[in-house]
């Protein structure tokens, strides 16, 4: 259901997390230093610097999308621990369905019935909720009180316009190449370090009768991962950032290079036939891995867990993971080769606590803050998250990972010089639609890289023009 998730993330106005001003980084570091790291368990609340909560009865309505175990029980446990410590506070935890979650939230907000505390994925929607008055600014509280030692990227993604607007709790997602170790051994190929080696490996795989990459591009954001990585390897974050403001262009070098590479790969048979008709929601890409048609799959790191859930045996026997290979030529020109595509927060909670007269309902806000920082994100919570193969976006956890694949994924993520947030989460929603359609046309060989670049430029310009005034 990742398609839905990402489409939730596409957002209208998204200036925010891009301008994720350096000041936020600085602020966060400062804050982190001030409060030092605090991995102390929540039980020692006495020593903690957290707001004093009300003793009056209080009810918090909380929306999440934890419909399924293990997430469901992990999150319900966090709420139960909180309610045990603060018996006067009731948390009404509502598990919404991910598919329609964004619609639900719009319906509720538009009717002034929004929950007090709700999950989102940061990015444009968060900015929109904030601008419409459904998000409390947490900057001051965050700097005053204890909070988990979130990694920089996570705080950046929970911020907009220099303000901290959400508390992350979902863990990070990278994007890496999963591969079938058995096939690699059989064909006799090593994990490729450069794109040239990757291509050589692919050619060998084709010779041996395999399709190199399993890709279900019916979902479009899946094909975008290849495009994003090739652009990032060829130009770091620079060309994309320039294209975003239209000081540069989606037809600049890296974009054309990435587009041509993809089309070349399509022609050489690196992707399954009918790549645009396959749907990742229905598991068609995993199916191609399982039945031994394909040898590799570039995908979000959550796929590791999905594969494990499908079959522990297959996972143990066959699955390996590696970082997207480097562009040797660009590396020689000094382009950083360790940009990671992905997201530093799986999810964040924003708070919506206001009095009738429009002032902040501090008592409720305090309670939400304590719940999100001390019960979600506490040791018990994070240990359970780790057991479920999710790495919290908190410093120090990457070292504790035992599972080899999770460890590789986390290492790649934490060693990245920069995180390139998914385009479809980062671009304004209207541009995202165009970008995604361009991915269909690119992989379908219906349009040239130049043409899709121009289309994306036009959409971006239209957006900028509309939001200039």
């Amino acid at each position: 259901m990742k398609k839905k998730l990402l489409s939730l993330l596409l957002a209208a106005t998204m200036i925010g997390s891009m301008v994720v001003s350096t000041s936020v980084f600085a602020e966060d570091e400062a804050a982190a230093e001030e409060t030092a790291t605090e991995e102390a368990p929540a039980e020692e609340a006495g020593e903690k610097n957290i707001p004093e909560l009300t003793t009056e009865p209080l009810k918090i309505v909380l929306w999440d999308i934890a419909t399924e175990d293990p997430t469901k029980s992990i999150q319900e446990d966090a709420v139960a621990r909180f309610m045990a410590d603060y018996p006067n506070i009731t948390v009404e935890q509502v598990h919404q369905q991910n598919d329609n979650y964004k619609q639900q939230l719009i319906v509720a907000m538009s009717s002034k019935q929004a929950p007090d505390m709700y999950i989102h994925w940061g990015g444009g929607p968060m900015a929109e909720y904030y601008k419409s008055g459904f998000v409390n600014d947490l900057t001051e509280m965050y700097n005053t009180y204890d909070h988990p030692d979130f990694i920089e990227g996570a705080v950046a993604q929970a911020s907009y316009d220099g303000k901290i607007l959400a508390i992350p709790f979902g863990g990070l997602s990278g994007c890496d190449i999963f591969y079938n170790k058995t096939i690699f051994a059989e064909v006799g190929i090593e994990v490729p370090q450069t794109i040239d080696e990757l291509e050589a490996a692919c050619d060998k795989l084709i010779e041996a009768g395999y399709v190199p990459f399993s890709l279900a591009n019916g979902s479009k954001w899946t094909g975008s991962m290849y495009y994003m990585y090739l652009v990032a390897r060829h130009s770091g974050n620079d060309e994309f950032n320039a294209a975003y403001t239209q000081e540069g262009s989606f037809t600049s070098d890296a974009f054309i290079w990435a587009g041509e590479k993809i089309q070349d790969w399509v022609k050489k048979g690196y992707f399954p036939e009918g790549v645009n008709s396959l749907s990742t929601d229905d598991g068609q890409d995993r199916a191609l891995l399982y039945d031994g048609t394909c040898a590799m799959m570039l995908h979000g790191s959550w796929q590791g867990r999905s594969i494990m859930t499908d079959s522990q045996e297959w996972y143990d026997q066959n699955l390996g993971v590696f970082r997207f290979p480097e562009d040797a030529e660009a590396a020689a020109n000094g382009v950083p080769q360790d940009v990671e595509v992905g997201t530093a927060i799986g999810n964040g909670f924003s708070f919506n606590c206001w009095n009738e007269d429009g002032s902040v309902d501090q008592a409720k806000l305090d309670a939400c803050y304590v719940l999100a920082t001390q019960y979600y994100n506490d040791e018990t919570y994070n240990a359970a998250q780790m057991a479920a193969s999710t790495t919290p976006s908190i410093n120090g956890y990457a070292d504790q990972i035992e599972n080899e694949i999770d460890k590789t994924v986390a290492d790649i993520f934490f060693n990245a010089s920069n995180v390139q947030l998914w385009y479809d989460q980062y671009l304004p929603a209207s541009v995202t639609e165009v970008h995604k359609d361009c991915m269909t046309e690119l992989f379908g060989l219906e349009k040239t890289p130049q043409e899709i670049g121009e289309e994306q430029d036009a959409a971006m310009q239209a957006y900028l023009a509309e939001n200039a005034g």
């Binding site: 209208a12 601008k131 009918g274 639609e433």
Partner: protein
Amino acid sequence: MTNKSSLAKRREKNTMIAAVVFLFPAVFLIIVYMLYPVIDTFVISGYSWNGISADRTFIGLKNWITLIRDPSFWAAFGHNVVVMIFSILIQIPIGMLLATFLDAGGKKFNIFKILWFLPYLMSSVAIGFLFTYALATNGGIFSSLATLISGHKVSVDLLGKNPQALFAVIGVMAWQFTPFYMVYFIAGYGNIDTSVYEAAVIDGATRGQYLRHIAIPLLGPIFKTACTMSLIGSLKYFDLIWSMTGGGPAGGTELMATYMYKLSFQQFNMGYGSCVAAGMFILITLIALVFQKIFVVKEDY
């Protein structure tokens, strides 16, 4: 004379009272749950609004001007028209054929009736999932059949390319909805007085003649309502497209309803989304009206 006219008046008054009483519950509910939201939609279409913010800016007809010039909207409308034409051309004739077969066969064909009705009972979630696989290039039914027939590996890409993606979805829709029209026509046949059939048999008509010359013409009004339903249903269709293609590839299966939904609930553009919805409402009503006017059938027999 005066007596008579007052009697007629009283009668008219009685009829009026009865009509009001009978119509009241339906009209009341429709005003509350449908008319009010429609008016609301038209009002919102005059604003620039993200759907959640307390303040919205009135921009007059700006959204409507955008709508008239919006190629995406008209492309979506075009897809809707294609869906409409093929839905009517496929679902209704097949539905009628199946109903005729069942009606002619009588009770001994009940098993067919049950089997044929099954597709309609399946939820769109399951249909979307199974047909995504059935239409897939790898291991899908059509690709496998083509491979089998031609003797070498052929992959038929039905959902990933335009324009066939739209037709693939139209096919799935037909599979899902034909059973409903079948049941509808069975009911239509059932409504025909048995005496009509008996009279026909006495006159020496065969079953086929009875069907051709008597039953099918008698189904006129039923036929017209079926077409109207199919027409309106396909112009506002949403479900299966949403779960199978999401409007893709490259907008090739985008319909007015999916376009409206994306704008309103995913892109924070409720103002324009409402305008699209209002435009949709006007277009569908117009087309349905024109259809009603053109397609005149004898309504009594």
